[in-house]
């Protein structure tokens, strides 16, 4: 893992001291709320529906056991005993007191964490594949580049006041687990025809009110040029994006307004200029220095020998265990989606006990996925039964990774000041409806994603089945979207039609899923069947209760 150097530690300590002073001045009335708000947002502090919410950055989703224990400690001492992992692989606390925040930031700094770049119109916390450094599929570990981007973007003077937030992800595998194509900009580590490793850069993806799939800016950027190229994209965005309309300020709007060819032309011009000055070349020795922090652990020489167990263990192994790059090792996903639980939530006790597991079995490291689960990246295959048993005791052994109950849900109206409708109870209702593991396995891969408002923190546009909560005269309704994907075959879900009531939406989802089971061909996922047959048949079954009521009413 990356460790802070002297500069990082000093920088974070100074920010803590600076914010402590800002909080003191705010409480003393020396600065107004209008003056204070941008300062607190720069430190990840929002005022939500019930209280302050603090969003803590987990760069590229990587945490040490020590950091996880610190998060558990903060949950216990300063919050209400739990935290919420988000689709940006961050952690949110929902019940924070303003007066405690300087002390919390100080605690975080002691384990090399902070809340910078988790809010505001800046380059946000960089995300990456949660299997980074562990999966045999990758060309190379994407985290060294993610860390370099983090360092380059932290308080970058040119990009501190962008028109809007800017999200970057890095991947390195054909199978995209980091939703690259839904990011403002993403870097895919690729190999060219000559076998040389470099970077494909895409930009202009995004969710929210106007969803777009990212478009290719460059098929291949040389290693030493990557920061120059990213800076060129950011510079064009910063200079040319609209600042007069808050709904048109993201890079996706700019690219789609001027066209991708024109965007590329502008970026290439800036790129040439930056290259000419030579100020942003990435030195090979610096890349090597950062990469060394992410060197693979010393794996034992073990044979591949996957253990067998009872049905519960085999079910879990089937969905939650993935192949590792080292023989005798595996990647284990800890589902934070036990049926009936709040997606992405973990209690302080669970965090502490996962930290113990991480130390005992996963070489001290755990990952956060954008699907709101945790991952033990490096576990010995022979330890899987013991890990599973410990997870069962924590109620975190749901064998559902990638299945219909592995639902993404934003905090929604239960916590969020921006939300129009609740997300969590809908996720819980649907999960309960499909709780039977045999039924889940029969359905196969099916990603449900729920957002409580158009801002789409719950990624509803990218759900095979997406659900968007809306407010109709103070009452919650839920729109269904079908056919979205956040993977390498990215697509934006199609809106089915009028929304369903709070007590109807789970039934409508069930009718849609049952229809899929009735018409699918061998080997088809829900998404494949939808792409083959289209919306109409699903729409007919989803609304059948209403149609029946209309005919008989």
């Amino acid at each position: 893992m990356y460790r802070y150097d002297e500069f990082d530690a000093k920088f974070v300590a100074e920010r803590v001291a600076q914010f402590r002073g800002q909080v003191e001045r705010r409480l003393a009335g020396a600065i107004t709320e209008d003056e204070f708000k941008p300062l607190r947002l720069m430190n990840g502090l929002y005022l939500q529906l019930h209280a302050y919410m603090l969003r803590i950055a987990v760069p590229y989703g990587t945490l040490s056991s020590k950091q996880l224990r610190k998060l558990a400690h903060i949950a216990r001492v300063y919050d209400k005993g739990f935290g919420h992992f988000t689709t940006r692989t961050n952690l949110q606390f929902n019940w924070i007191k303003l007066v405690d925040v300087p002390d919390i930031l100080s605690e975080l700094a002691s384990v090399e964490m902070h809340c910078i770049q988790t809010s505001g119109n800046c380059i946000r916390n960089v995300t990456a594949d949660q299997f980074a450094g562990a999966t045999p599929e990758e060309i190379e570990d994407p985290r060294p580049l993610a860390e370099i981007i983090r360092q380059w973007s932290s308080l970058h003077p040119e990009f501190v006041f962008l028109a809007r937030k800017f999200k970057i992800a890095v991947g390195a595998t054909e199978h995209d687990r980091a939703a690259l194509l839904y990011h403002d900009m993403a870097v895919d580590i690729v190999r060219n025809a000559e076998g040389q490793v470099g970077y494909k850069v895409v930009a202009g993806g995004g969710m929210g009110r106007t969803p777009y799939i990212a478009q290719t800016m460059s098929e291949f950027v040389e290693r030493e040029d990557i920061l120059a190229y990213l800076e060129a994209v950011l510079r064009v965005y910063n200079q040319d994006s609209r600042r007069d309309n808050k709904h048109k300020q993201r890079i996706k709007i700019l690219i789609n307004a001027i066209g991708v060819e024109e965007m590329r032309r502008r970026v290439d011009r800036e790129f040439a200029e930056i290259k000419r000055t030579g100020s942003l070349q990435l030195p090979a020795e610096e890349l090597a220095r950062i990469t060394a922090y992410f060197a693979p652990p010393q794996f034992e020489a073990l044979p591949d020998n996957m253990p067998f167990g009872d049905k519960a263990f085999e079910d879990w192994k089937k969905t939650n265990v993935a192949r590792h790059r080292a023989p005798g090792y595996a990647i284990a996903t800890i589902s934070l989606k036990t049926v009936g639980q709040i997606p992405g939530d973990a209690s302080a006790d669970q965090m502490d006990m996962i930290a113990d597991l991480v130390d005992e079995y996963s070489l001290g490291e755990v990952r956060v996925s954008h699907e709101q689960n945790l991952v033990l990246p490096h576990v010995r295959q022979r330890d899987l039964p013991a890990i599973f048993s410990r997870l069962q005791a924590l109620d975190l052994a749901a064998p559902n990774s990638g299945l219909i109950t592995d639902i993404i849900a934003c905090p929604g109206l239960d916590y969020c000041d921006l939300a129009n409708a609740r997300s969590i109870p809908i996720a819980q209702d649907i999960a309960k409806k499909f709780a039977d593991i045999g039924r889940q396995q029969e359905i196969g891969e099916l990603k449900i994603k729920i957002s409580g408002c158009i801002n789409a923190c719950g990624h509803h546009h990218a759900g095979h089945i997406g659900i968007l909560g809306v407010d109709k005269k103070g009452v919650e309704f839920y729109q269904l979207q079908l056919g979205g994907s956040g993977a390498e075959d990215a697509s934006i879900g199609d809106i089915m039609g009028p929304g369903f009531g709070e007590h109807e939406i789970a039934n409508a989802v069930e009718r849609v899923v049952n229809h899929y089971l009735a018409v699918r061909k061998d080997g088809e996922r829900f998404l494949d069947t939808y792409r083959r047959v289209g919306m109409e048949p699903f729409k007919n079954v989803a609304y059948q209760e209403q149609m029946y009521a209309a005919h008989t009413g």
């Binding site: 005022l47 209280a51 005993g81 303003l98 709040i342 239960d414 939300a419 409708a421 969590i424 103070g474």
Partner: protein, 101 residues
């Protein structure tokens, strides 16, 4: 036909800890049930204006009026958002307002 205006209440968050507050007779209380209901929009606007005193003296933030209905002496916000804000999250029992509703 002119829309009938629902009664209103005034709410804010306490600056130092974010706690949800309701206006009652020139001050703030923790529970919705103890808050003041304004049948007259002018009285509600006057309370909002008076409450700016506490915004200026940095004890509260985010003041606003919201619609409620009162039946059998029980106050119920019109919008789901305000019902949840008053009671706390519907998915956990940790809502700090819950005991005051």
């Amino acid at each position: 036909m002119a829309k009938v205006q629902d009664p209103q209440m005034l709410t804010a968050n306490r600056l130092r800890d974010g706690e949800v507050l309701y206006w009652a007779k020139g001050g703030w209380v923790l529970g919705l049930k103890d808050g003041e209901v304004f049948a007259d929009p002018k009285a509600a606007d006057a309370a909002l204006a008076e409450s700016q005193r506490d915004v200026k003296n940095n004890t509260v933030v985010a003041t606003y009026l919201f619609d409620v209905r009162v039946a059998d002496g029980v106050i119920k916000p019109v919008k789901e958002r305000e019902i949840i804000r008053a009671k706390g999250p519907t998915v956990r029992g940790e809502g700090k307002q819950a005991s005051h509703v």
